[in-house]
């Protein structure tokens, strides 16, 4: 670990000021930052510890829910309102990591979770995300875990978060505070595609602090499901994951939400697949059509072509479980 300046600010304002200078990182649960600092994949000059700031409340906000950035994954996943109204979020959170990590990891931190690409984590090899311009060792390397959607010639690293899949499906809004302004960022605009700059993963500016997220009222609670396919029965990253919701009235789908994990470079909302479901009767036939529409122009590499098939089947399974037909 590279030496760093440690700051535990008195409040959010002080945190933002402290993080504005140099290459500072906010420390929340530490499950990504400490991990990557120990590998020296991340080498912030300053660590601004926001974990004890009073940003952990989970509370109603109008018809929706407001979740503080420092709320721990376990607290969110077991919160009665989340369980009752946003079960997709609870399922996704509980499908991720381990009990220990869920007890530590925060909502704000999870938004900024870094990829598990093994080349990103190995200082001895080239990686554009870790060392911009150094090249991508993954492209022609071992790509079983890599993305097939949203990739670029610079990076094919998969976004690893389960929570973000649910938040993408639930139309979350990310609220931030930076020097002089507050922002409300729609979830679909929060994470960026790698393009030529995979080192940039979101629209946050230096020193900008995620304070909370808001979930709008969801009509999908009755028909929603998160399915995660992985190499072992727990404590593994997704080979493919799908978070879906259906709003069904009079035997027809009024609205649908489909988001994917494990297959894309950022949390992936499959809007075309959602549209394909609107007006349809729920069932395997319409679900399969939607799944086909979800995987548009995939770019598999040597070891991950299976994800094209697997992602589609995962979507179908999630929709079936959401509808109660599997």
């Amino acid at each position: 670990m590279k030496p760093f300046t440690y700051v535990r600010p008195a409040d959010a304002r002080a945190a933002i000021t402290a993080a504005g200078a140099g290459s500072a990182s906010f420390l929340a649960g530490g499950t990504t930052l400490v991990d990557l600092m120990r590998l020296e994949v991340m080498t912030p000059s300053a660590v601004v510890d926001v974990s004890s700031l009073p940003l952990a409340a989970i509370e109603r906000a109008g018809d929706g829910l407001r979740i503080g950035a420092m709320a721990r994954n376990t607290a969110v996943a077991t919160h009665p309102i989340v369980v009752e109204r946003y079960p997709l979020l609870a399922q996704a959170l509980l499908a991720g990591a381990s009990q220990q990590v869920r007890n530590m990891a925060t909502v704000g931190g999870n938004l900024l979770q870094r990829t598990r690409c093994p080349y990103f984590r190995d200082l001895a090899v080239a990686c554009n995300k870790r060392a911009p311009g150094s090249g991508c060792s993954a492209l022609d390397g071992f790509t079983r875990s890599h993305a097939i959607l949203g990739t670029s010639a610079s990076c094919i690293a998969t976004h690893p978060s389960d929570m973000c899949v649910a938040l993408a499906a639930l139309d979350a809004v990310v609220h931030t505070r930076g020097a002089g302004r507050e922002r409300a960022i729609p979830f679909g605009e929060f994470h960026t595609l790698p393009g030529d700059h995979p080192e940039v993963e979101n629209v946050l500016e230096p020193g900008e602090l995620v304070t909370h997220i808001e979930l709008p009222a969801s009509p999908f609670a009755a028909h929603t499901h998160y399915v995660k396919v992985r190499d072992r029965a727990a404590f593994a990253f997704a080979l493919a994951a799908a978070g879906v919701g259906l709003d069904v009235a009079d035997g027809k789908i009024r609205a649908a939400r489909i988001a994917l994990g494990g297959v894309a470079t950022r949390p992936w909302r499959a809007t075309e697949a959602e549209q394909a479901l609107v007006g349809q009767a729920p069932g395997r036939a319409s679900f399969e059509r939607a799944a086909a529409a979800a995987i548009v122009d995939p770019k598999p590499r040597r070891d991950n072509a299976f994800k094209i098939v697997l992602a589609k089947r995962t979507i179908v399974r999630a929709l079936e479980l959401a509808w109660g037909a599997a």
Binding site: M1, P118, V229, R317
Partner: protein
């Protein structure tokens, strides 16, 4: 009479220490003013170091020494390798790079944080050559080599005639990947020099005496001047069976820095520096006649080794002896790669070889329309087909029966793809398992103290296998003492020499030594008592005396008793002690000796998503006398969990372009977690064996791993009709069918 301890499932005698944090592993020994060493690894797979820059590291705060091949003390003995199972190590003795992550520098600093960061400041320039990291990339170079478990090739009978006589044949190729042991405790060594010629190593090892022998040779020290201590070892599974580079580096770093050095390797380093199970490519050709008898077996195995050392994964050993088949041909080949040397990994040879053999038998059974279990029964080897010798004991047929009954084998549909629950396809599979039983010479010391309690010592190890506990039981029965009156000590080369804790032979080697030493102590106490006019037993013949409840008693009149405490006290000696060396049992030459078992799997496979869940594993095992059914069951459970990992999860991946390990941690190298393991059924089939050793023990630490992967793969085939011949069986393979 004292209730016998052997055969009783007593709680582990070290249990309390292990549940309170009180068991002290190598890196946890409190050594004053200890410093921390961190290894810097190479970033090429083959070549030479042109230049190495340590200036930044040396200037970093707290750094006490930065050691490279430029400045390391040189020890001619480092390159000396006395035994085939010794592992050649890299100790900064030259500029040659043989594999990725090879140690090229060691940084010593006052704190761990400072050493870790300073290690990242060391930079090297290389003359790099292309490195090859996959057996299949260089199959043309494969050469035939003798294995530690027998000849490189055997040809029994007439293979061609056997194949010609077959009604049904299969000819298939299986692959098993590189697997990495990954015990929970990473290897660690604390090295403390006393002057220039005395060295103490607190080392996480399965073999304290091997470490002593190797380190004294490498460093040019007299073996008596090297002391190796390891009271608790956090798992080994073969990768702690011989010292690797880091042990030497800890000693060198301590010498160079003039301080005690603690060197705990990192989990990423665990993937490259301490051995692995090599990848294998196994071609199986089997023939069976119309009566279900095997007519021919051919088994060719190619596995990898390093450029600089030899390790053979003896996959074919099991094929030579498991079934009664007149025509058998097996060959072992090796391919040299730019990789670190592989080594023994739990059930070396058997787990990989059995996957191939037992999968191929399953394929043969389905092809011939035979019940897979019936095929195995029909070809049961009543004596060892390889040596022609009788088995010292063998209960395989009973194992088949008990395990088959337990899982309901006969009730399953013989047809594949017939069972399902919703989206889950369900299937059953069977396989045979075996492991040879060996006994190595061992020495033990038994000491009776004036308080009537015994201290029994042998320089063995407890790597989680229950050695502390079962040796206490063996000693307790020999001396007729309750558990609480015996202290068994191990893990220190200051104790009498016992063999490494490898090959499942600790109980069968050190166990008889402990038994014999305690019996000799008992005889000595009898002699003292019968000659002592003050003893109630004076004048009695030795064979007229029993031991019971901490005392000697006259068999004819059990009220005539002389407590051990009284005998020792009257002797005016501080203790009565016997040290005794025990060789392998003489009967062993006349028999083939091994444990056998039958394993059955019930699995479910998600037909769309390819996820596999093991619903049930049933294993019936026979391995001679069971010293402690509780710890024995635990060992067998663990072996089965290893089988689940081998079948479904474990896969160390090297980058095909560079031979550098890609799966560098426990997030990428998957071992089974709680959720992957159902409740497992262990059936211990009673077996008395008078030929193996004085206590009738064969050893069973590795018996339950072989066969599991095949049973699971066979069950997956029964469920889905898809035959996966390439481990591990991950969802992608099943999705692609």
């Amino acid at each position: 009479m004292t209730r016998p301890l052997i055969g009783t499932g007593i709680d582990r005698v070290d249990g309390r220490k292990k549940v309170t944090g009180g068991a002290t592993y190598a890196a946890e020994v409190q050594v004053a003013n200890v410093t921390h060493a961190v290894i810097v690894g190479s970033t090429i797979g083959r070549g030479k170091i042109k230049a190495i820059d340590i200036t930044a590291a040396q200037a970093a705060p707290g750094v006490l020494a930065v050691i490279t091949h430029d400045n390391a003390p040189k020890f001619p003995g480092v390159s000396h390798k006395a035994e085939a199972n010794d592992r050649a190590v890299q100790g900064l003795q030259d500029d040659i790079v043989l594999y990725h992550d090879q140690p090229i520098a060691v940084v010593v600093a006052d704190t761990l944080e400072r050493a870790q960061h300073a290690a990242t400041l060391v930079t090297a320039e290389y003359d790099a050559a292309a490195a090859v990291g996959d057996v299949e990339a260089d199959l043309g170079s494969a050469y035939i080599v003798e294995t530690p478990r027998g000849p490189a090739e055997i040809h029994r009978g007439d293979l061609a005639a056997g194949m010609a006589a077959a009604k049904t044949r299969v000819d298939v190729t299986y692959r098993t990947p590189v697997e990495t042991h990954n015990p929970m405790e990473p290897h660690a060594t604390i090295a403390v020099w006393q002057g220039d010629d005395h060295l103490t190593l607190y080392d996480s090892t399965q073999a304290i005496f091997t470490v002593r022998r190797r380190l004294s040779t490498m460093l040019g020290l007299s073996p008596e001047n090297v002391r190796v201590i390891n009271h608790y070892c956090g798992g080994g599974f073969g990768c702690k069976g011989a010292p690797w580079s880091h042990v030497l580096l800890a000693a060198i770093a301590a010498r160079a820095s003039g301080r005690a050095v603690k060197l705990a390797i990192t989990r990423p380093q665990m993937q490259s520096l301490v051995g692995h199970r090599p990848k294998t490519l196994q071609k199986l050709e089997l023939g069976v006649d119309g009566a279900g008898r095997l007519t021919a077996i051919r088994h060719d195995c190619v596995s990898e080794t390093s450029r600089f050392d030899v390790f053979v994964e003896s996959c074919t050993a099991v094929t030579r002896m498991l079934y009664a088949c007149p025509n058998v041909s097996t060959v072992q080949r090796l391919v040299r790669l730019d990789v670190p040397t592989p080594t023994f990994t739990r059930a070396p040879g058997e787990s990989t070889g059995t996957f191939a053999l037992e999968s191929a038998l399953d394929e043969l059974a389905y092809a011939a329309g035979l019940d897979p279990l019936e095929l195995r029964r029909k070809n049961h080897a009543d004596h060892d087909p390889e040596t022609g010798k009788p088995w010292s004991s063998k209960s395989l047929l009973a194992c088949y029966q008990r395990a088959a009954d337990a899982i309901g084998w006969s009730k399953r549909p013989a047809q594949i793809k017939t069972l399902r629950e919703g989206r889950w396809q369900i299937g059953y599979g069977v396989a045979t398992t075996t492991r040879p039983s060996r006994q190595l010479p061992a020495t033990a010391r038994a000491r009776m103290m004036p308080d009537g309690r015994a201290v029994v010592q042998a320089g063995t190890q407890d790597i989680g296998t229950g050695t502390y506990t079962v040796m206490t039981q063996v000693a307790g029965d020999a001396l007729a003492l309750p558990i609480g009156d015996i202290r068994f000590e191990l893990g220190d080369t200051a104790l009498p020499e016992a063999p490494p804790s490898v090959g499942s032979f600790t109980a069968a080697s050190t166990g008889p030594a402990v038994h014999n030493a305690c019996m000799a102590l008992r005889a000595k106490l009898i002699e003292l008592a019968t000659r002592d006019p003050a003893s109630p037993l004076r004048g009695l013949a030795a064979d007229a005396i029993d031991a019971e409840d901490g005392a000697l008693v006259a068999r004819a009149d059990r009220n005539r008793r002389d407590p051990y405490a009284a005998i020792v006290t009257r002797s005016k000696q501080p203790e009565i002690s016997v040290e005794l060396h025990t060789e392998a049992h003489k009967d062993r030459d006349n028999y083939s000796v091994g444990g056998f078992g039958a394993v059955f799997a019930k699995v479910r496979v998600d037909e769309d998503l390819g996820e596999v869940r093991v619903d049930r594993l049933v294993g019936a095992f026979a391995a001679g006398r069971i010293l402690n059914p509780k710890t024995a069951r635990s060992q067998l459970l663990g072996g089965m969990v290893w089988g689940i990992g081998q079948a479904l999860h474990e896969h160390s991946v090297r980058d095909t372009r560079t031979a550098r390990m890609v799966t560098r941690d426990l997030a990428d190298y998957h071992v089974p977690v709680h959720a992957d393991v159902p409740d497992l059924d262990i059936l211990l089939v009673p077996e008395e064996d008078p030929h193996v050793n004085e206590i009738g023990v064969k050893g069973l630490g590795e018996l339950s791993t072989p066969g599991i992967a095949a049973a699971i793969a066979n069950a997956i085939y029964h469920a889905t009709g898809v035959r996966i011949r390439d481990l591990p069986i991950t969802p992608d393979k099943l999705v692609q069918g």
